[in-house]
């Protein structure tokens, strides 16, 4: 009997020690909270939007819909964190730039194009914005990898300049695209009731999974993050790998920018993706990844991103004003990090163990 109990507690301990346990536990706690206080949170209804197409609506749909950008950014941020041991705080500003480029290429000089008056196809515009976002990522990467500036400081440059550059690209005008097809990327494709961003996020995750499965990128970034010198002695090129992670983050930024801009069919340089860099870093931290680099778990980060979105949606549901939202978020974040802090967990484990040990002696 006692042996069985021991193995059970061992199993429990093993699960608790898994990195992915923290975000999943947070996810379940939040879901449980909603289940207890208002089971209506889980209701999903099939309705019709203004165009008469079927759409799913409900709080859970909102979570996976609005959490898409954050999940996509969390992928890139995890790589950057793992390889460089620092974070990119310029992603919000970079999204503003990528979005601005996207609109500029689509609209040209005409800021109010009618449905058929777009300059190029969406694909061309998206590719251009990808290239620009990756170029800015590469700029950050050069500062970090070649000039050896700490990532947070290096990206502070783009953080300060990004929104100004975005405004400058469009001469501070706010183009509006009235073509309904442009709204598909951030809304619904007619006939499909699931929001498109969900598919884009899943596609990004699949690509990331394939990259991790078929290339050595994951191993290399971890090696560089754990010890740069020894990875160099093992024949890796730490400078290139660090640089590459920033370029990958640039690509993620471009995809997130497409969704963000498409949601509004327009852009507001000072507001778009505001504070998303903080949320993205938080997602990585909630996933239990060390912010000082080294080993990472991509899926934990992605779940972390959805946890943040679930928290936001839950708070909105209880009619917390959007400006006051950060205060509640802060409390939850502090609770989460305190309980996932290694020292606290050790103490907790010790507390659990000591009565059991006493029993054993008795």
């Amino acid at each position: 009997m006692s042996a069985k109990k021991n193995s059970l507690s061992d199993l429990f301990g093993k699960i608790v020690r898994q990195q992915i346990f923290i975000p999943i536990a947070a996810l379940f706690i939040l879901l449980l909270f909603n289940l207890i206080f208002d089971p209506g949170f889980f209701v999903i209804t099939l309705g019709e939007n203004s165009a008469g197409d079927p759409v799913l609506s409900g709080n859970l749909i909102t979570v996976i819909n609005m959490g898409s950008e954050l999940a996509i950014l969390a992928i890139g941020m995890t790589f950057v964190t793992a390889a460089s041991g620092g974070q990119d705080i310029s992603v919000g500003a970079a999204i503003a730039i990528a979005g601005s480029v996207l609109l500029r290429v689509l609209c040209g000089d005409n800021t109010r194009p009618a449905a058929g008056e777009l300059q190029t196809s969406f694909l061309v515009a998206f590719i251009v914005s990808c290239i620009v976002a990756m170029a800015f990522g590469a700029f950050n990467g050069v500062l970090v990898s070649i000039f050896k500036i700490q990532p947070m400081v290096a990206t502070l440059i783009l953080y300060t300049a990004g929104r100004s550059i975005a405004a400058w690209i469009n001469n501070n005008e706010l183009p509006i695209i009235s073509d309904p097809e442009f709204g598909y990327f951030g809304g619904f494709i007619p006939g499909i009731p699931v929001p498109t961003p969900v598919f884009i996020a899943i596609a990004c995750m699949i690509v990331a999974a394939l990259v991790l499965k078929f290339t050595n990128l994951g191993l290399y970034t971890q090696a560089v993050g754990i010890n740069e010198n020894s990875s160099r002695l093992n024949g890796l090129n730490p400078v290139f790998i660090k640089w590459l992670t920033f370029v990958i983050l640039g690509l993620c930024v471009a995809v997130a920018a497409l969704i963000k801009v498409s949601r509004l069919s327009s852009i507001n340089y000072s507001v778009i993706a505001k504070d998303i860099e903080m949320d993205a870093i938080l997602a990585v931290a909630l996933g239990g990844n060390a912010l000082s680099g080294g080993k990472f778990n991509l899926w934990a980060s992605i779940i972390g991103a959805y946890v943040i979105q679930l928290l936001t949606t839950t708070l909105f549901k209880y009619e917390v004003p959007s400006d006051a939202l950060p205060a509640y978020k802060a409390v939850v974040v502090i609770l989460l990090v305190v309980f996932s802090a290694p020292t606290v967990r050790e103490k907790l484990a010790h507390l659990k163990k000591s009565p059991a040990a006493k029993k054993g002696v008795a």
Binding site: F147, K148, T160, R163, S164, W168, M278, P326, I334
Partner: protein, 340 residues
Amino acid sequence: MSKKIRNMTDSNMLLSITIIVFLLMYIGAIIFQGKGFTKPQTFFNILNANAGLIILACAESLVMITGGIDISVGGMTALVSMCCAVYLDHHNGNVPVSMLIALLIGLAYGLVQGYLVAYLDIQPFIVSLAGMFFARGMTTIVNSDPFNVVNEQFVALKLTRINVPGMGSINKKGVYVNAYVEIGVIIAILIVILMFVMLRWTKLGRSFYAVGGNKQSALMLGINVKKTKFLSHLICSVLAGIGGYVYFLHVGSGAVTNGQGAEMNAIASSIIGGTMLTGGVGNIIGSFIGVLSLATIQNIVATAGLGEAWWTGITIAAMLCLFLVIQSVLMARKKKMMKK
């Protein structure tokens, strides 16, 4: 020359670069922008407008020297100014108590953040990120509408001007006007001097450098690493409370948008002043000059007729980039010379 560079400490070298660039920039402004910058009052106005930021930059430098970071100082500025504004106007409070409120907010923040960072080993970035979120959210909960404080006692203090002896200029009417500074500037300069003395000559000040430079060897030297880290965050938050109050004294209003981006400006000033985020290297005088450089750039952009708002952001970023690259290249060169 190369020998001289080799003999300089990191901190001194970075500081001298900062001072040289600041002087060049100011002289350039005088040459190309003309009269405005020759008036002493222009310089003192920069001080007046940035007294709060100077204190915040000192606070930030201290944490960065100890190897941490605190991004909650901007949020705290907003929280302090809003709490004090609400207390002064809606509750007919008096000024000394409002100062006490600012200090208490700083103290409370410092205790919590310091404990979490030092004793629970949570990354300072995450802790102060939560601190920033909390402060911004709390500010909205306390009061969401911006308003100007009309409390007489406070307004009198806000309008108090201290003449600078021997400095002044003749205005358009031909009358000699003495240059002045606000009370906040006096507080800021006192804090800069205090922090400089503390970091350079006291045991505690040196232990901040030791912990930031190398935790292991600091431990071997018998320094209480955790306590030092805790103290750095405590002092930083208390200073941020004071800085928030000084900022409040300058703007005289409570608003959610107060101190927006102040944390990044404080970090940028510290970096321009030669403080390194890796810890162990830094100088308070440098941070002071960093703030001045940042403000001078803003002034130059504003007076150069580059009216479009985006130029400020782009020039500051370009300057930051320049400084970072210079620092990085010089450090790399120095390392090479040391090896030889």
